[in-house]
Symmetry: C2
Subunit: 452 residues, 2 copies
């Protein structure tokens, strides 16, 4: 596409300029020092600068990345720029149609780099759940086939699996994602049958925060022969993409689903599905539209789009593509994923260690957390505690199974945020219910009113 | 939810204020006159004011509403406001979770009013094709069931139907959407079998622009008894919603799919599906997620969400909801759908009549068009003509079946735009190829470069 312009700068130039400014800002080290080691990079000034890119962090302690990440301002701007570009040169025109193709390709290429996979193996989807459904409905099931799922899956995915099982007359059983790698592997080995067509698990379960041993589990599945080949592995990456360094092409996973709007902090309404090259043949597109196929205009016949693109359906919110790429670029400009993950672990361990000495708030994890997900319990009802924290501009979420408070800690979370959270929790245990009642009487707590 | 504020005004107040300003602007009649009749409303000044709400119309002649409508600036602003609101009070919090519920409910209510249906019968989807797939995959097919589809369906839908037929071993045949109501009815009557489970048709086919006799076809389907009840009717409303006055609740259609981003001029990435109350039971959710179900936190069991909401899957781009409502509000504030449709017909007839006298450009329709879709043919290759027109900031699209140029005329299209289009077409027939070659040599035509 030729360079076309909005105002005095093209969209691409604007983005490059912005990326460059951010990169420069990131390189401004305090006192003119050169960074050395992983701690130097996280000087407070640099982190403050970085956090200012996220409007949601203004005046808040935010711990809900595992539910919904904070969208950076440049990502919002990139979405807006895309919409304006589409209106300026379309919205339907040969130029915009080409531009959309390029936006989709650029976004897939960007995700492929993030996940260490080839672009041909990645499809864009509306969200992680849709990506899982593509596989669940895309396998050509035979009555009596067996599905083995972990006991830590999100209820939405469990519901999807049960509906597929009902429709195609399948058997479903669960394995225990154990507290150790060996226990998990043993649980799967015991659960696999001679007709286990698919194993479904989260790389990082939303309700334990463990990192399940993906490569070993994949090996186990690949070596389990069934009458139609071997057991396939579908991985829910909702809590791993944007957190763990990943190499999907070599992971052994057949299918890996993920979303933009959690740890990647991109816009909601866009996600993706990785399908290993050798596993593509096992999945037929279920929901199909004009983007799934190449249509022969002469006779109206059609063939699937090459690779994972056959799982694209129809018109999506294309402007979200630029937002997702900008969000990813912001993380990458700050530090490599290995360093970001190391920082998440350091911060999770920090709060975990602090709570080892707490008399009132307990951390459910027995050892330092393996990701940014930390599970807390105090003697009060966690749902009430979460609502109280929200009135103090401190954002966490409660869970039912296990009944607790969940923190999501990102690489740009601060110790100050964690300290404040612990203090609020401890105060609540001492004065909580009284303070809550007072707030409700005074009517100055929106969270209570919103949830009355 | 209590009223919470962004800056000095709440989001709702901002929107109300904007809606009010637009309403007032719309009521500013030239010379202080009160409007009377359907022509008075379309005074040029008023129309110019209205068109200024659409950035895409600036400096263009735009005729692609049937492919992609022009997004109004206030709709873009509403989307942006929503994103900012989510970041300000979330993005994940009890307050934002309640707000999302309300955004979804308000949007469904708004669509229900547009379509004359109850909110319980409408689900939001990513687009019209996904909505059709929900029905196609949601019916519990039996091997050998028959599907009857019109010969004018979009290739994406045809591909979806063929894949469903392959997976569930169904028979598919087509009926001819005839040139007269009687011919169409006769075609369907001939096509219906004793095992026809589903008829699929567009209310307004994308490649003919006719209005198919929905109510009569629905009666025919409802009276066709099969071993498991009766024939059901799925309608693709891509080219009818935002054009025709509709009363879906009384139309007899079982299922009616539509999108935001065509004639409603809302954002892309959001659409919907109407399922008549009495037809809901025939469709099981296929793609399922946490939004499809009510989960019993005590034992993890789940039941479907009430009504059409069970077809919601998981996280969507919620900010698009406000954009769609604003776009709809802008049309409604301008004139009722009956007047808008009358104006579309008047403008379509205008260009159709002009072309009756043209020696070089032919209109494929034998009588004045029944909607805003007008199909043209000149002696030149239509694909080349469309690309040439784009270099002149005149946006149309070409088709393969029939091979022609398609215009989409909206209620705010102007006669000046239509006159200019006809002149460009006629000029092209006289000087076209030479001019195109010259443009290519000079390299000053982005459209050619983009499509080289």
């Amino acid at each position: 596409m030729t360079t076309t312009r909005i105002g005095s700068l093209s969209v691409d130039e604007k983005r490059d300029l912005l990326a460059d400014l951010i990169r420069k800002k990131m390189q401004r080290w305090p006192n003119g020092e050169t960074p050395s080691g992983s701690t130097a990079i996280l000087t407070q000034a640099l982190l403050d600068d970085h956090r200012r890119l996220f409007p949601a962090l203004d005046g808040k302690s935010y711990f809900n990345y595992g539910a919904h990440g904070t969208l950076p301002r440049p990502a919002i701007d990139a979405v807006l720029d895309s919409w304006e570009y589409m209106q300026k040169w379309g919205p339907f025109s040969t130029q915009i149609n080409d531009w959309i193709q390029q936006e989709v390709s650029k976004t897939i290429a960007c995700l492929a780099t993030q996940l260490d996979a080839t672009p041909q193996t990645i499809a864009l989807t509306e969200n992680v759940t849709t990506a899982c459904n593509i596989v669940l409905w895309g396998l050509e099931w035979e009555q009596g086939d067996h599905l083995l799922i972990s006991d830590c899956e999100n209820p939405g995915i469990v519901a999807a699996i049960h509906e597929v099982a009902r429709r195609f007359h399948l058997h479903v059983s669960t394995f225990r994602a154990g507290t150790s790698e060996a226990a998990t592997i043993e649980g799967i080995a015991r659960g696999l049958r001679s007709n286990t067509r698919l194993v479904v698990m989260s790389h990082v379960p939303w309700n334990t925060g463990q990192v399940l041993p993906l490569t070993k589990i994949a090996e186990l599945c690949r070596s389990n022969r069934i009458n139609r080949g071997r057991t396939l592995l579908l991985v829910d990456g909702a809590q791993s993409v944007g957190v763990l360094p990943l190499n999907l092409a070599n992971s052994g996973a057949d299918f890996y689903a993920f979303t933009s709007h959690k740890w990647l902090c991109g816009p909601e309404g866009i996600g993706g599905l990785f399908l290993a090259s050798e596993s593509l043949e096992f999945v037929q597109p279920a929901f199909v539209g004009w983007r799934s196929v190449n249509i022969d205009e002469a006779d109206g016949s059609f063939t699937w789009q090459p690779g994972a693109r056959r799982f694209h359906i129809s018109t999506s919110a294309y402007p979200l593509c630029a937002g997702l790429r900008r969000a990813i670029g912001i993380h990458e400009d700050f530090a490599a994923i290995e360093k970001r993950y190391a920082q998440i672990l350091e911060l999770s361990r920090y709060v975990w260690e602090r709570l080892q000495q707490s008399a009132t708030v307990e951390c459910l994890q027995d050892s330092p957390p393996e990701t940014g997900l930390v599970f807390l319990r105090s003697k009060s009802n966690p749902h009430k505690v979460v609502r109280y924290l929200e009135t103090e501009n401190c954002y966490t979420r409660s869970m039912y199974e296990p009944e607790c408070i969940r923190l999501s800690i990102h690489y740009f979370t601060t110790r100050h945020e964690l300290d404040r959270l612990v203090e609020l929790l401890q105060n609540y245990e001492q004065h909580g219910p009284a303070k809550i009642l007072e707030d409700m009487r005074n009517g100055n707590s929106y969270a209570y009113q919103a949830n009355a």
